[in-house]
């Protein structure tokens, strides 16, 4: 049975490409509870990004369910509390899930402030003044208070990614999805971004993080998910996964990366 704390429940999730010749996800079951910090690891091409992108339907699953707060967001319709059949508006659900990409994806034609306030103003109908005040506060929190009026092109990679994180936070999401947030960064900038994510984890934010930073995974992750060939091969606490791996695939993977 679903507990109250369950935020996302994934069952039988499959994503096929090329008419099924490529099974990027091949039957994934997993539950994410409120406050969880889930770190997804695994070799390249194992389906980590596809899994993450299916959670907010950037990738439409071939089959399977993604139940977010009691609603299966893979279906066109759902039944609300009063038993009425309602058409699902995916945008409403996406607003509650923040996503951070490997390549930042800031909007280059807008200032940092405009990047951050666009969605709150457009979809939450927040007034501009309130949104900007909120944005400046968040920028201060990540040490970028003086960059509010800069354009993305004027920022370093680490600064861009910090802006991308606070841009997502502007919508006050219930879960944050990170897809290799430090992979496109120069080594000296990895730390500043991980620091922001670490703080976010400590603040109790529910997060799913795909990363190659094993040290960080071990430190911040409360649950580790190991994927290979489109399947979840092993899950467990950082101790279980890193100190006591059971499956040969995971043992092999850890030998290569550690």
């Amino acid at each position: 049975m679903a507990s109250n704390a369950e935020l996302i429940k994934v069952t039988g999730l499959c994503k096929h490409f090329y008419n099924g010749d490529l099974k990027a996800l091949d039957g994934v079951d997993y539950s994410i509870n409120k406050g969880d910090v889930v770190v997804v690891i695994g070799p390249s091409g194992s389906g980590k990004s596809t899994f993450l992108r299916c959670l907010n339907l950037l990738e439409v699953p071939t089959s399977g369910e993604v139940v977010f707060k009691g609603v299966d967001i893979t279906k066109k319709y759902y039944t609300d509390k009063n038993g009425n059949k309602v058409r699902l508006n995916i945008d409403e659900h996406r607003r509650k899930m923040g996503m951070v990409f490997q390549h930042f994806n800031l909007f280059p034609h807008m200032t940092v402030l405009a990047n951050m306030t666009l969605a709150p103003i457009k979809v939450k109908k927040m007034d501009k003044e309130t949104a900007e005040k909120k944005a400046r506060k968040l920028l201060e929190r990540v040490g970028l208070a003086d960059r509010a009026d800069a354009y993305p092109i004027q920022l370093s990679g680490g600064q861009k990614q910090r802006v991308a994180i606070v841009r997502a936070l502007m919508m006050e999401p219930e879960v944050m999805l990170f897809d290799e947030p430090t992979s496109a960064l120069d080594p000296e900038m990895v730390g500043e971004v991980l620091e922001v994510i670490r703080e976010l984890a400590q603040s109790g934010m529910t997060m799913v993080i795909v990363t190659h930073e094993m040290g960080f995974a071990k430190e911040v992750g409360k649950k580790i998910v190991f994927m290979a060939d489109g399947k979840i091969v092993e899950t467990g606490s950082p101790q279980e996964i890193f100190d006591n791996p059971k499956s040969p695939r995971l043992q092999d993977f850890l030998r290569k990366v550690l």
Partner: protein, 232 residues
Amino acid sequence: MFTSAGFAKTWQYIQLFKEGLICTLSLSALTVIFGFIFALILALMRMSKIKPLSWFATCYVELFRATPMLVQLFIVYYVVFAKASLPNFKLFGFIRFERFFPGVVALSMNSGAYLSEIIRAGIQSIDHGQTEASRSLGLSSRQTLFDIVLPQAIKNILPAIANEFVTIIKESSICYTIGVQEIMYAVASIKGATYRIAEPLLIATAVYFCLTFPTSKIIAYFERRMSRGFKR
């Protein structure tokens, strides 16, 4: 070929060239504006998930790119607007609207087909990550198009649109065949009145050159500046 007497005669009708210039510029400007709006609609239709819309747009674009401008102009003027009695007032006191308007329509329809391909390429050149970031924030596909993708795409294709304006200035000369009083019409009128053709043609050449050459140089200048700005 050229004689000073010929220039003297032509010069008496210089007013016709002034009118021709005004007419050519209005024709081209209106064509770029309507052509662009039309092209945007075509490009969006062509990329639409609704199959009949994208088929229609594809057929339209291919048809207009595969047939001569002159044929399109004659069909619009002699067939489409044959029975429609357009109001026959005069723009700026001399441009006959009932000829000018079909000219604008035909040029816009033709230019729209070409511009829509430019716009489509511009939209497709925008990194898909932009769309994903926007959608992940909860913006709708429509908001994503108008707030994120189009502003970037249009900025990238601005030079191409400006170049289309230059092309239209030249191509609009074809409207002389339906009696629109643009620059070539002035040449024909002067030839009728003076029996001189070389001198009016030389003047027409000079006028077209003065219109298009500086314009394309200015566009090239801004194009260089913009690309530099992006690399900064």
